[in-house]
């Protein structure tokens, strides 16, 4: 009898250690998994293109901008014209981006404002053979301040037109030119961007390349007089209608005084975030139904979401790449650091991850253009974005890295863990007379069955005084059934879980079984069957026999085994069925043994087993006078 008792203790201690260690293992596994995914354990020869991303890069910014032009016009070879802006002046380049929008559709080339373009660059521009824009068929429009040498050099080869700030401010000069060339510009909306911190102007890049909206600079003192008079003239044209002024600058750049001042001219709306990354997200999420300003990304789930991702420290790369969005694609600009994706951007991307329910065929696909080389946006970051862009089934869809199901399971498992610890403490400190095997069995049961097991523990010992010998208590058949079901299910499930873990550790192989028993070859299935055999043996021969030395072990075993076997079988069948349904049918791919989803399926299996085993337990409790063991 002592040997059986010792064996029971060892087995139960082992189960408890494994179950208690679970959350710590999961934490470790989760961290290591994230680290592995970030640590770049990849070889040197991966390509910089992925299925859901394209990187626009070049040896320098001019090269990148020419590549973007080629991508836009490769199919037709007919470039309407080129707009050239200085690479070092992001605002000038942003204004120039307005000319890339249809119907003008110019290609944007960024040049160094002081250094003459190389022969190769000129040859490349010539090869694009711009047809000419406007009535005078100007092939190149220079926007911003360029040296005389550059102007002369370009003028020798192309018909050029210069737009700079020698007259009105540059934004207004470009505005005049856009009005002259593009009659489709919406005069009801105006965007004001920060001239002090151009990073806050960048999120407008893809919007301006598509719409050519009026865009003017603003600083902490408000807009300049020229801008104010331009706003007033636009308001005048509208008559009774209010001019919609979108203030794309955060509070620390354009304060409330500025807003009040502008409020006298038109309807002010601030679309801004605390930092450049958040600022870009604000623009991606915003939408004005009246003027159709903003991308409204998160609320349009059934479309293809296309983004341009850039680094705010490299504005020129982002602006040069934004021209791809002028006609082919439409979508917001996102900003992130070069090495790690910002948590808020990642959350946003997860929230719009494409999904499907029954058929993946009609699922939207998300696509991202990466602005700049790998020093600007790293390769692991690009790979991460590619992964988030991949369409997944709706059932396991997530708003973060773990699915809703997994989050729920984590909560359940947390409750199980805490419940197990509490049961241990409670039974040790408050119920000292309870036998050790019984105590350990209860702890195991609560750890496996979670809050349901805890409820069983409470119901089983409710109303008993703490220091009265619990073993001698007499319970009603209903309570006996609860105790019996919870403990048998808990211990059976725990043994099956641990057996599967051990089998997996040994490298469970698929067996090529043939005929109608083909399914037996699946290691997931045969490990469940082995788990059942182990659980039945342990419960029948070790845990269930009475530990009372006055009762013969063999006699007790002989009398009890049909009861125990039926209970264990019921629990194991229900557990296996639930696990099979979850792992083989409802999860889109098999959960990795030991990971959250796998533990979760085991927890659900144990809870399901309780439902089926309780009626059987009730039957035995009513039929047998000596049923109560736990």
């Amino acid at each position: 009898m002592m040997r059986v008792k010792t064996a029971a203790r060892i087995i139960l201690y082992g189960l408890i250690v494994v179950l208690l260690a679970t959350p710590f293992y999961l934490t470790y596994d989760h961290v290591m998994c994230m680290r592995r995914s970030a640590s770049g354990d990849y070889a040197e020869d991966a390509v910089p293109l992925t299925a859901h991303t394209t990187r626009l890069s070049g040896d320098n910014i001019t090269d990148l901008s020419l590549q973007a032009v080629r991508v836009r016009y490769a199919h037709s070879g007919a470039v309407p014209g080129l707009v050239v802006a200085p690479a070092a002046d992001p605002l000038a380049a942003l204004y120039a981006l307005r000319l890339t929008a249809p119907p003008v559709g110019a290609g944007l080339v960024l040049l160094d404002a002081d250094e003459e373009p190389s022969k190769e660059v000129l040859a490349e521009m010539k090869q694009l053979s711009p047809r000419g824009i406007g009535q005078r068929r100007k092939q190149i429009i220079l926007v911003g301040e360029f040296s005389q040498q550059i102007r002369t050099k370009l003028a020798r080869r192309f018909r050029i037109r210069c737009v700079d700030s020698s007259g009105p401010p540059l934004a207004l000069a470009v505005d005049e030119l856009v009005s002259e060339l593009n009659s489709t510009v919406n005069d009801e909306r105006v965007i004001l961007v920060s001239s002090e911190d151009s990073r806050y102007a960048l999120p407008l890049a893809t919007w301006l390349s598509r719409t050519a909206d009026h865009v003017y600079p603003i600083d902490s003192n408000g807009p300049s007089k020229d801008v104010v008079s331009r706003l007033q003239s636009l308001q005048k044209q509208l008559g009774d209608k209010k001019l919609n002024i979108y203030l794309a600058s955060p509070l620390h750049i354009a304060g409330t005084a500025v807003v009040e001042e502008l409020g006298k001219i038109g309807q002010i709306t601030r679309v801004a975030g605390r930092n450049p990354e958040q600022h870009a997200l604000a623009m991606a999420r915003y939408y004005d139904r009246g003027t159709h300003f903003g991308w409204y990304s998160e609320n349009t789930p059934h479309k293809d979401h296309v983004h341009l991702v850039g680094n705010p420290e490299y504005p020129e790369h982002l602006i040069a790449s934004a021209q791809v969005f002028s006609d082919i694609w439409a979508g917001p600009t996102l900003l992130t650091q070069s090495e790690a994706i910002c948590p808020s951007v990642e959350t946003y991307l997860w929230s719009i991850r494409p999904s499907w329910t029954d058929s993946s065929a009609g699922a939207p696909f998300n696509y991202t253009w990466i602005a700049g080389g790998e020093a600007i946006i790293s390769w692991p970051l690009q790979a991460r974005i590619d992964y988030i862009n991949t369409a997944g089934p709706y059932l396991t869809q997530t708003s973060r890295a773990s699915s809703g199901l997994e989050s729920l399971l984590l909560l359940w498992m947390t409750a199980s863990w805490l419940g197990g610890v509490w049961t241990w403490c409670h039974s040790t400190m408050r119920r000292r007379t309870v036998g050790q095997v019984k105590r350990l069995a209860w702890v195991t049961a609560v750890l496996t069955t979670g809050p349901l097991g805890l409820l069983g523990y409470y119901l089983s010992y409710r109303g008993e005084r703490p220091l009265v010998a619990a073993d001698s208590s007499s319970r009603t058949p209903l309570t006996q059934a609860v105790a019996g079901a919870v403990v048998v299910v808990g211990v059976t499930s725990a043994l099956m879980i641990v057996t599967r873990l051990v089998i997996k550790g040994g490298g469970a192989a698929l067996l090529m079984t043939t005929g109608s028993i083909f399914w037996l070859g699946n290691p997931g299935i045969w490990s469940l069957m082995v788990g059942y055999a182990v659980a039945a043996a342990v419960v029948i021969f070790v845990l269930d026999p009475s530990m009372d030395s006055s009762i013969s072990y063999s006699k007790d075993l002989g009398a009890r085994w049909p009861v125990t076997l039926s209970m264990v079988t019921s629990a194991a069948l229900a557990f296996s069925l639930a696990v099979w349904l979850l792992e083989y049918l409802y999860l889109s791919w098999p959960p990795v043994v030991g990971r959250t989803a796998w533990w979760g399926s085991a927890s659900i299996g144990a809870a399901f087993a309780l439902l089926t085993t309780y009626p059987l337990s009730l039957y035995w409790a009513a039929a047998l006078p000596q049923y109560d063991r736990f």
Binding site: S37, V47, T54, D327, C425, L510
Partner: protein, 407 residues
Amino acid sequence: MPSNDYQKSQRKLKIACYLAGGLLLAAILAAYLLPAAYQYPDASRQSVRAQREFGTIRQIPCDDPLTVGLTVSQTIYPATGGSARPNAVVLVPDDDWRTAAAAARLSALPVDAPVIPIPSAPLPELVLREIRRLNPLGILRDAGAQVLLCGDLPSGVQRTLQDEGFRFRWLKASSPEELAEKIDHYLSILLGDHRSETVIVPVDDPQLAATGAFWAARRGQPILFSHQDSLPEATKRALDLRPRGAFIYVMAPAGAIGPDAIRDLANFGHVQRIPGEDAAELAASFAMYSDSGDQLRWWLDAIPRDMGWAASGPGLSPVFADEESPLQAMVSAALAHRGNAGPLLWLRQGNLPEPTQRLLRQLQPQATSHLVSRFNRGWVIGGPDQVPEQLTNQLVRLLRKREDENE
């Protein structure tokens, strides 16, 4: 008045509970905070395969199946971490399109693998480097097998993989029909059930087989072979294992799989023929084909049936390949799984066949609000020799918004 012992035990209980709760909270917080604070390390790499980007088309300008396989693998698996790595790599002989067709379904879950065709000579160093780069996670329910060898491959491959320390499984059979059966058998054990939807392709027509293989790579449905007038025994055995019958989709016109074979197939379930008189027409009609509903299963495991690309508007991501290079099309089928690409559409001798052109015009996006926009974006498999630049440009135009045609 409670005794001292009772009070002490109660205090101990509280302390123990607080400690346990704190420990668990710390563990959960650590799980979520540590990765967020982690910075990606710097990485220097070089591009081995040049792909051409045309805005709405990306071209994989490779002329041989091996290079196409490697490029597709590198495109869909960045291999920067667990989620970006495949479970396995499938190696097939580069002179056997039937094996490639049957193995295409291994690209889909639960295996999740690129298919790389290899020559009969020793395993090329390029392939070995690719397997090392991918460092496959291992098939969960098959002792972590990292490489699946399919068909007649040189025995040296096995030795090389052993030397490299990769776990592998070799699926081989005496005929392509039996290999298809074996792959079906292997996946049925892996999934714990046989898929009801079955794609039947002619054993003598690589273009038709590739069209089916592309879909199989997306959804993992079995590819089984048929002769023109009869059903091979291996195919019969595989179909017979579906106790409640199968939904059988025949990817061939009557000239390729005749009425006698169809009659044989009808013994095993519900048969439907995908319409189309030749490969291009059948691929175009399969692009718009959709059949969904209940499975022939018990209510408990009656997951919905799903067959066909169901293209009815923009949002298409077709893969274009030349009819002369069906093996290249088959090994690029993995794009349908991870790359969200598909269907496969055929090009014919540097031209766009009429059915393909008609389909593209029908599904061409129109200028709409950015709130509802769906885009078309395609892949072209093959270099300028197979797919001339003029044809690529035509495809780019057909996938763009309709208003752009007048440029």
